[in-house]
């Protein structure tokens, strides 16, 4: 007698897109490099948006995001599943961003005087009046003014929606540090934005 047909879902029948990050990484480490594309497609927008939130410069977004994924590709064979793949990606992104910010800091040091001089002579370069800007723009401008160690937790929490544990993992610090930096960063933002918010 024929046995009834049984539908079984084996690991092979699940499309790559439906597999977890961990399963894809395991396949990658086993030699199947095609899984990397799925990982990139899944997380590229996060990485690109973090880079954009940090630098607010579209010219740098793709180049830096690609650098992040190249670094991840090279390091993935040694990934030990001690954190989630995306917080690990955030960590790489943050480190790349810090390198870039260091480079830019040097450039800014030399160009600051010039900018001040230009602003005095060219009114169009002055910070726009609050009434000309939306809240999102005002907050983004204020965020740019924060030092990097306060800016990054705010971006990861309020823009990217990471948990405190994930932020601590991405920034390689304690959860307590994340709490205090977030609190101080928000206080700084309030100080910068209060005149604008009251003017509105």
């Amino acid at each position: 007698m024929n046995s009834p047909a049984i539908f079984q879902i084996s690991e092979e029948t699940i499309p790559l897109e439906a597999k977890s990050d961990e399963a894809l990484i395991t396949m990658f480490q086993g030699g199947d490099r095609s899984t990397y594309r799925v990982l990139v497609d899944r997380h590229r927008e996060r990485v690109r948006n973090v880079v954009f939130a940090i630098f607010r410069d579209t010219d740098i977004v793709d180049d830096m995001a690609q650098e992040v994924f190249i670094k991840a590709y090279e390091a993935l064979p040694n990934f030990r599943f001690e954190s989630s793949f995306y917080t690990w990606l955030y960590r790489i992104t943050v480190n790349k961003a810090r390198d870039e910010m260091r480079k830019r800091k040097v450039k800014r040091f030399f160009s600051l005087d010039l900018m001040t001089e230009q602003k005095e002579h060219h009114p169009e370069l002055q910070t726009p009046a609050p009434t000309d800007m939306g809240v999102a723009d005002m907050v983004a401008q204020a965020l740019d003014k924060l030092p990097e160690k306060f800016r990054l937790p705010v971006i990861l929490k309020d823009i990217e929606g990471l948990s405190y544990d994930e932020i601590a993992d991405a920034l390689e610090c304690e959860v307590g540090t994340v709490k205090s930096r977030l609190s101080r960063a928000r206080a700084m933002l309030r100080t910068i934005l209060t005149p604008m918010m009251e003017a509105e």
Partner: protein, 465 residues
């Protein structure tokens, strides 16, 4: 509740808006906020800031991200694996660079001869044309086309005729090829720089691919002709032109670049994919010789408002193409007329099968769904062969059956019945055109003779004086 320091209030409010306080702490803080307006104001401001951050602008999606990334990864890996070789083979590298320079030189010189064929201007034909003797008798529909459009055609087999009509070529079922004309928009995905970057092409390869695209451009420009009475003539070769271009581009690439090319085609659902091949890139000289030796045919599929068939067009078509730019302003009204004709055909939703002209080149035409489909068997066209064909293989995909129903026997008054009684009139058009060209040539010759005689007389009178 006793007053808290500003620092503690700020910390607690920050945790509160993130939902990080436990229930008891949260309730305590809410009581405090109710009793302290400045804390309530701070909370409102923190929420507004958080809302502003959540509404931060996002970067637009970049569909090129993976292609660029994978190219960079490939490049990084091949550089890493080659680095030791470079150290040990420095002299060989110099020799290779020297050879490459020679190839580039040859490429430039050979390209001139290759393109000369298509740009040849015959004084006689130019005069015939400028005299207005054959203007409007037959003209190219696609005279204005850039290399990027040719690239899209090579990769995806489609070409925009205007904003709503496209020409699409594809491999049909079995050994057949298909050409479709009708409603649709051509895909445009790659600019040339993007394409070169994605395959990692060298400067020398740019030149080769440019030449292949120029060749394709010349072919496409003379592939669709429109007659005086809105007949359409489509060069049969165009159906496999994109295959030839994909195959030849693949031949010009190194194996690792071929893999990238293969990936681009696969990821973009292109009709052809590159067959696996580890052969090194063919030299520009070899590619140009092969292209120059491709079989030439003047075989066109000719469609009128009531018939369809193969016809061999006069060889003057090649020469006429050199003057295509002069008729460009006339292309738009022609295209509208052709569009109307196709609409008439498709509205009648005729399903026809034609074997009028040659049993060796069976031809089928389907009308329907605002698209006119012409399908012909491979044996009706010259085979390109070699690396100009074999490296590009039709993509394996489920065969999509045409929506058209099988051909039914003709009914009285049916288009096919009419067609069998009324043969294509295009021979007359072509014959008429040939006569007009001949006539113009004779007139030109007479004018030249007269001019020569006048000059002789002038010289003679000068001497006498």
């Amino acid at each position: 509740m006793k007053d808290l320091s500003q620092k503690i209030v700020t910390e607690k409010l920050s945790l509160y808006i993130d939902g990080m306080l436990d229930d008891a702490e949260a309730r305590q803080l809410e009581v405090y906020i109710a009793a302290h307006p400045e804390a309530a104001r701070e909370l409102a401001q923190l929420r507004m800031i958080q809302k502003g951050l959540k509404a931060a602008p996002r970067v637009p999606d970049d569909s090129w991200f993976w292609l660029q990334l994978s190219s960079r990864i490939d490049e990084r890996q091949s550089r890493a694996s080659d680095s030791w070789k470079q150290r040990w083979w420095m002299p060989a590298g110099l020799v290779t660079a020297g050879l490459a320079a020679v190839f580039v030189f040859m490429l430039v010189t050979e390209r001139g001869t290759l393109t000369a064929y298509f740009q040849e201007k015959t004084e006689q034909v130019a005069q015939v044309y400028s005299n207005g003797l054959i203007k409007g008798a037959i003209m190219p529909l696609i005279s204005s086309i850039d290399k990027e459009n040719v690239l899209q055609f090579a990769l995806f087999g489609n070409l925009a005729l205007d904003s709503t009509n496209t020409l699409q070529v594809a491999k049909g079922e079995g050994d057949s090829y298909k050409v479709e004309l009708g409603r649709g928009t051509a895909r445009k995905k790659f600019t040339l720089p993007q394409f070169y970057a994605a395959i990692g092409a060298t400067e020398a390869q740019h030149e080769v691919v440019d030449s292949i695209l120029n060749y394709g451009k010349a072919k496409i420009q003379k592939a669709v002709l429109v007659g005086e009475r809105d007949e359409i003539a489509i060069h049969a070769d165009i159906a496999q032109l994109n295959r030839m271009m994909v195959s030849t581009i693949a031949a010009s690439l190194e194996p690792v670049q071929r893999v990238r090319f293969q990936r681009i085609l696969a990821e973009n659902d292109a009709p052809y994919v590159v067959a696996h091949d580890n052969a090194p890139s063919a030299t520009p000289e070899k590619i140009f010789k092969r292209i120059a030796a491709l079989p030439r045919s003047n075989r066109y599929v000719v469609i009128t408002d009531d018939s369809v068939g193969f016809a061999d067009m006069p060889s003057d078509v090649d020469r006429l193409m050199a003057h295509a730019q002069r008729v460009e302003p006339l292309a738009a009204p022609r295209l509208r007329a052709v569009g109307e004709m196709m609409q008439q055909l498709t509205e009648r939703r005729m399903h026809i099968e034609q074997r009028l002209f040659s049993e060796q080149t069976p031809l089928r035409v389907f009308g329907g769904n605002q698209v006119l489909t012409i399908q012909f068997e491979e044996n009706g066209m010259p085979s390109f062969g070699g690396f100009t064909e074999e490296l590009a293989q039709p993509r394996q995909r489920p065969v999509l059956k045409t929506k058209n129903t099988p051909v039914k026997p003709p009914m009285p008054g049916d288009w096919r019945t009419l067609n069998s009684e009324k043969k294509i009139d295009l021979d007359a058009v072509i014959g008429n055109q040939e006569e007009r060209i001949e006539e113009a040539r004779r007139e030109q010759k007479l004018r030249e003779q007269k001019l020569e005689e006048m000059k002789k007389q002038q010289r003679k009178s000068n001497i006498e004086l």
